[in-house]
C-alpha cells in the first residue's frame, strides 16, 4: 500500500518542520550572512579562508542544505494538478533566493563559490519553470535538455584533433563558444580517447635535489624519482603520481626549422667545441659532496655533452607547452617545501632542484625474449626541464652564459662574410652588456671593423629571458596577454628584430635529452634474431643523466662581464 511520506499531514511531521518554515529559516540565515558581510567586524582569522569568517561560512552552508531539503520534501508532494504545481514551484522560486542572497554574502575572492551559487540560482529558476509546466511541455523541455547535454558530450569527444590534423571546425567552435561553461563546470570535458591512437610509454619525473650546507657552502644531492611504487602507500596514490608526471609531457608541436638550427648549434657547441677549445675552463671543480665517481668520469664529459648517437636530433629536443612549464615551476616549489633539509644531515638545506622528464620506453617483444630487462637504464630517456630554485625560478648556470650567447649565432644571420665571422671565433667573450663593450672586444682587424656596424646591429639585442612569477618564460611584450604562455606573436619585434629569446638561450641543455647510452654493444651470437645485447650492462653504461645532474658549474670568475639577471 502506497503512502505519501512527504505529506506532513499524513506522516505526522509538525508544521514547523515542513518545507516553508525551513526555507524561511534558510532565508533568515543568508540575510544574516549578508548583514555580517556588510557590517564587517568579523574576525577573519577564525574563518576557513580569506575574507570569510567561520560564522558566515557556516550560515551559508547550513542555509543551502536547509533550502535544498525543503525543495526535496516539497517535490515529493508534486501532483499533476495546477494547485500542486503552483505550490511547489512557488517554494522552489523562494528557495532560489537562498543562493542569490548567499552570493551576496560571499566575498569576491571566493569566485568559484560564487560560480556554484549562480548554478544553483539557474537550477532553481529552471526548476521553477519546469514544475509550473504541464507534463507534456515539461517533456518537451526535457528533450531539449537531453539533446543539449549529449550534444555537449559528443562535442567533447570530437574536438581532439587526429594526428597531424587540425581539430574539426564545427565541434571546436561549439565547444569554445557554447558548451565550455557547462562541460567545464560539470567536469564532463573528457574525450574518452583512452589509449588512443595507441598506447605509449609512461612519463616519469626524476628530480635531483641539491642541498647546500649553510656555513660552508658544501653541496650534496639526492634523487627523488616519481612515481615510486614502493613509496606509495596504495596503488591509487601511485597512479595519481603517474598522472602528475604525465602532465609535464604536453609538448609543443615543433619549432621552426631555422630556430631549431640555432638551438642545435648551441647544443653541439656546448657539448663539443666549447669544452674542447676552452681547456682552461673550470669543470667539475673539486668540491665536497661531489661524488668521487663523478670526478673520475671527466673523460666522459664530451660524450655526455654530445647528443644521443642513435636518435635523430629533432627528437632529442622537446619543448614543453607553456602550461607544462608553469606546472614544472610549481612542482619545484613543492619539492623545495617537502625536501627542505637533507634527511641524513639537516645542516644541509634546499638549494635547487634539477628536474628531468623521463620517458620509460617499453621493451619490444624480441628484446624481452632476448633477456633484456624492462628496467634497463637505456630505456629511460631523460629530458632536462631546468634547474629551479625554491621559488620555482629557473636557475641559469653562469658558465653556460659565457658561451651560449644568442648574439653569437645572431651574427651568423648578418650580412657578414664567413671569413669575418671566422675571425670572431677567437673572441673569448660573446656576450656583451652594451655596444661599447662589443666594440672594445672586436678583434683589431681592418675587415672586422668594416662590418662593425652590421655586427653591432645584431649583437646588442637585450639578452634576457623574461620569466613570469610562476617560472614560465614570457614574451618580451608585457602588454600582450599571451605573454604568460610564452608564445611569440609574429608581429612582436624588439629593436626591429623578431624576438628570439627563450629560456634555452641561457642553458643549452634545457629541454634536451640527456642520453643514457652504452659504448659497446655486440650482436648476441646465440640468438638468431638481430638483437643488440650488452657485453657488460654496468661497465659500458654512459649515464649522462648522473653526470648532468651532479655536475656543478663553476661560479663566474672575477672580471667576467656581469650577467643580466632574468626578470
Amino acid at each position: 500500500m502506497a503512502r505519501d511520506a512527504g505529506d506532513p499531514a499524513r506522516s505526522g511531521t509538525p508544521f514547523w518542520m515542513g518545507p516553508w518554515p525551513r526555507v524561511g529559516v534558510a532565508l533568515g540565515m543568508v540575510v544574516l550572512g549578508c548583514f555580517l558581510r556588510a557590517a564587517g567586524g568579523e574576525d577573519p582569522k577564525v574563518g576557513p579562508g580569506p575574507e570569510m569568517s567561520l560564522v558566515r561560512f557556516l550560515l551559508i552552508v547550513a542555509a543551502m542544505i536547509l533550502a535544498g531539503g525543503a525543495v526535496e520534501r516539497m517535490l515529493r508532494r508534486l501532483r499533476p494538478d495546477e494547485n500542486s504545481r503552483l505550490e511547489v514551484s512557488s517554494l522552489t522560486a523562494v528557495a532560489s533566493l537562498v543562493p542569490l542572497l548567499g552570493y551576496l554574502s560571499v566575498p569576491p575572492g571566493w569566485d568559484s563559490a560564487q560560480m556554484v551559487l549562480v548554478a544553483f540560482i539557474v537550477a532553481g529558476v529552471l526548476g521553477t519553470g519546469l514544475i509550473l509546466l504541464p507534463v507534456i511541455y515539461r517533456k518537451a523541455v526535457f528533450a531539449v535538455l537531453v539533446i543539449f547535454h549529449f550534444g555537449g558530450i559528443l562535442t567533447a569527444t570530437l574536438i581532439v584533433p587526429a594526428p597531424g590534423q587540425q581539430a574539426p571546425w564545427l565541434p571546436s567552435h561549439a565547444w569554445a563558444q557554447f558548451y565550455r561553461p557547462y562541460l567545464g563546470f560539470m567536469y564532463l570535458n573528457n574525450a574518452y580517447h583512452f589509449y588512443s591512437p595507441e598506447p605509449g610509454p609512461a612519463t616519469l619525473m626524476w628530480s635531483y635535489v641539491i642541498y647546500e650546507k649553510e656555513k660552508t657552502g658544501e653541496l650534496a644531492g639526492e634523487w627523488v624519482k616519481l612515481p615510486d611504487r614502493d613509496a606509495s602507500p596504495i596503488t591509487l596514490h601511485f597512479q595519481r603520481l603517474l598522472a602528475l608526471t604525465d602532465s609535464i609531457n604536453q609538448l609543443t608541436s615543433g619549432i621552426p626549422d631555422k630556430r631549431f638550427k640555432e638551438i642545435e648549434y648551441w647544443r653541439r657547441e656546448a657539448g663539443g667545441r666549447i669544452f674542447d677549445n676552452a681547456k682552461d675552463l673550470p669543470r667539475f671543480p673539486k668540491r665536497p659532496g661531489l661524488p668521487e665517481e663523478v670526478q673520475q668520469q671527466q673523460q666522459l664529459v664530451e660524450q655526455l655533452l654530445h647528443p644521443h648517437p642513435n636518435m635523430i636530433m629533432a627528437r632529442q629536443y622537446q619543448d614543453p607547452q607553456p602550461n607544462s612549464k608553469m606546472l614544472l615551476a610549481s612542482y619545484a616549489r613543492h619539492l623545495a617545501i617537502t625536501h627542505e633539509r637533507l634527511k641524513d644531515d639537516p645542516a644541509y638545506t634546499f638549494h635547487s632542484v634539477k628536474i628531468y622528464r623521463v620517458i620509460h620506453h617499453i621493451l619490444e617483444p624480441g628484446e624481452l625474449a632476448a633477456g633484456f630487462s624492462p628496467l634497463d637504464k637505456t630505456l629511460f630517456h631523460p629530458y632536462f626541464q631546468g634547474e629551479f630554485d625554491k621559488d620555482g625560478k629557473v636557475v641559469y648556470t653562469p658558465d653556460w652564459l659565457q658561451f651560449t650567447d644568442q648574439s653569437f649565432t645572431a651574427l651568423r644571420e648578418a650580412k657578414v662574410p664567413e671569413r669575418v665571422l671566422d675571425k670572431l671565433n677567437d673572441m673569448k667573450k660573446t656576450r656583451f652588456a652594451n655596444k661599447k663593450e662589443l666594440l672594445d672586444a672586436l678583434p683589431n682587424d681592418k675587415e672586422v671593423r668594416e662590418y662593425q656596424n652590421e655586427l653591432l646591429k645584431y649583437s646588442v639585442i637585450p639578452t634576457q629571458v623574461l620569466v613570469n612569477d610562476l617560472g614560465a618564460p614570457l614574451t618580451p611584450d608585457p602588454s600582450n596577454k599571451d605573454a604568460y604562455w610564452g608564445s611569440f606573436p609574429n608581429n612582436v619585434t624588439i629593436g626591429g628584430l623578431p624576438p628570439r629569446l627563450y629560456a634555452t638561450d641561457l642553458d643549452p641543455f634545457l629541454y634536451w635529452l640527456v642520453p643514457i647510452t652504452r659504448r659497446n654493444v655486440t650482436v648476441d651470437p646465440n640468438n638468431t634474431q638481430v638483437v643488440l645485447a650488452p657485453v657488460d650492462p654496468d661497465a659500458d653504461l654512459i649515464n649522462g643523466l648522473e653526470l648532468h645532474a651532479k655536475y656543478i658549474p663553476a661560479k663566474p670568475k672575477e672580471g667576467d662581464a656581469p650577467l643580466e639577471a632574468p626578470r
Binding site: A2, A176, R240
Partner: protein, 387 residues
C-alpha cells in the same frame, strides 16, 4: 482553481502529432522517445549502484588522506593555488578562425570550481576533507540521500577541479556516475532512508503497512542517461583507436601488457608469462591480435548491440571481461570498478532483485532468530524483496 483530472491531460508528446501521414514515422519516433525516457522504472538498480559506487568513492577520497596537503593544500600542493588560479582564470582558449588563417583566441580561463581554491589553511583543509568523507559515508548508506548525493557530487568535483594534474579516467567516470545519481532517487531503495520510511509508516499505520517502492520516471531518466553516456564513452574510445597503426597491426596490447608503470611486471610469474609469449611468436600474435580485436569489437560494437535484448547479456559479460582485464593487467582496479558500475546500469531490475534475494537468503539465515522466508520479510533493513 479547480484541479483538472490528470488522466485527461496529454502526457505523451506523440499525442500532438499533426497529420496521419506524419504519424506513422514522427509519431512512432516520439512514442519511442517517450517510452525510452519516461517509462517509470524500479529504482533498485540505482540503490545498488549507490552502494557500490559509494564504497568506491569513499575509498578514492580516503586515499587522499595519505598525502592530503600535497593534493589540495594551498602552497604545499604539487600544483600550488597561485598556479592553479592562473591556469583556471587566464589560460587562453582558442578556436579555429572563421577564415583560413590560424586559430583565434575566443576566451580565457575555465569554469573550474572548488572550495580548495579558497581554503588553504592546513587545519581547515583537513576539517573539510573529513567532513566530506562523512557525507560520502552517509550517501553510501543512504541517509538523507537527496542532499548527501548532491554534496557527494560537489565533494568529488572539489577534489577533481583542484587537482587537475593528478586526476585520470577514474575521476571522470566518478563525476559521470555521481551526475546521474543526483537525478535519480538513488536512496529510494537499499538505504537507511528506506528503512526509516518503513519504520515511520509502521509506526503511523500499523506493522503490516509497508509502503511499496514506487517506480519512478526520474530513476529511469538517471539509468537511461548512464546507459547512453556509457555508449558515448565506448564509441569514442573505440573509434579513436582506429587511428592507431598498432591497433591495426594487432600489437597495441603489448604496449599495455609490457608497460612497467602499469602492468605487474614486478611479479615474477607475470614476467615469465610475457617472456614465454615472446618466445612463441604464434602464441604472442594470437593473444595480442585477439585481445586487440576483442577490445575494438566491444568498444565499437557495444553501443549498438547492447540495445538488442538478446545480445544485452553477451555485451554486458563482454564489458565485464574487458574491465576485469584492464583492472588485473593494467592495474587500474578502481577505474575498472567505476566503469563496471556504469555497465551495471544495463542490468534489468528483476535480475537485481533476484540476485539480492538469493544473496539475502543465506545472510538472513545467519541472523539470530531469523529463518527462511519469514526472516527476509521481517527485517526491513535487509529485506531485499521489499527494498
Amino acid at each position: 482553481m479547480k484541479p483538472r483530472s490528470p488522466d485527461r491531460r496529454p502526457t505523451s508528446l506523440a499525442a500532438e502529432s499533426p497529420s496521419p501521414v506524419e504519424e506513422s514515422l514522427l509519431s512512432g519516433l516520439i512514442k519511442s522517445w517517450d517510452r525510452f525516457w519516461f517509462t517509470p522504472a524500479d529504482p533498485i538498480g540505482l540503490g545498488l549502484l549507490r552502494i557500490i559506487g559509494g564504497v568506491l568513492i569513499l575509498y578514492v577520497h580516503l586515499s587522499y588522506s595519505f598525502d592530503l596537503l600535497s593534493y589540495v593544500g594551498g602552497d604545499r600542493a604539487w600544483v600550488d593555488v597561485r598556479t592553479e588560479n592562473v591556469m583556471r582564470k587566464e589560460a587562453p582558449i582558442f578556436a579555429p578562425a572563421n577564415n583560413w588563417t590560424d586559430s583565434v583566441r575566443t576566451g580565457q580561463g575555465n569554469y573550474a570550481w572548488s572550495i580548495f581554491f579558497h581554503v588553504t589553511d592546513p587545519a581547515w583543509v583537513s576539517t573539510i576533507h573529513y567532513a566530506f568523507l562523512g557525507v560520502i559515508a552517509l550517501f553510501t548508506i543512504g541517509l538523507w540521500t537527496r542532499i548527501t548525493t548532491v554534496i557527494t557530487w560537489m565533494a568529488c568535483l572539489c577534489y577533481i577541479q583542484r587537482t587537475t594534474t593528478l586526476v585520470f579516467g577514474l575521476d571522470a567516470m566518478m563525476a559521470i556516475l555521481m551526475f546521474y545519481m543526483m537525478i535519480g532517487p538513488c536512496g529510494a531503495t537499499l538505504s537507511v532512508d528506506r528503512w526509516l520510511e518503513i519504520r515511520r509508516a509502521r509506526k503511523l499505520f500499523g506493522p503490516d503497512n509497508v509502503p511499496e517502492v514506487q517506480p519512478s520516471v526520474l530513476a529511469n531518466i538517471a539509468l537511461r542517461g548512464m546507459q547512453v553516456h556509457f555508449c558515448f564513452i565506448y564509441l569514442a574510445a573505440g573509434t579513436s583507436k582506429l587511428l592507431g597503426p598498432r591497433w591495426w597491426s594487432g600489437a597495441a596490447l603489448w604496449y599495455c601488457y609490457a608497460n612497467y608503470s602499469f602492468a605487474p611486471m614486478n611479479v615474477p610469474a607475470y614476467n615469465a608469462m610475457l617472456v614465454f609469449l615472446c618466445q612463441n611468436r604464434w602464441l604472442w600474435e594470437i593473444v595480442m591480435s585477439g585481445g586487440a580485436a576483442f577490445t575494438l569489437f566491444m568498444e565499437i560494437g557495444l553501443p549498438f548491440l547492447i540495445w538488442h535484448k538478446k545480445l544485452r547479456w553477451l555485451m554486458v559479460c563482454g564489458a565485464v571481461m574487458l574491465h576485469m582485464g584492464i583492472g588485473l593487467i593494467m592495474g587500474l582496479v578502481t577505474f575498472s570498478m567505476v566503469m563496471l558500475c556504469l555497465v551495471f546500469s544495463f542490468i534489468p531490475p528483476e535480475a537485481i532483485r533476484y540476485f539480492l534475494k538469493e544473496v539475502g537468503r543465506p545472510l538472513n539465515r545467519l541472523l539470530p532468530g531469523q529463518t527462511g522466508k519469514k526472516g527476509i520479510q521481517g527485517k526491513p533493513a535487509l529485506a531485499m524483496s521489499k527494498a
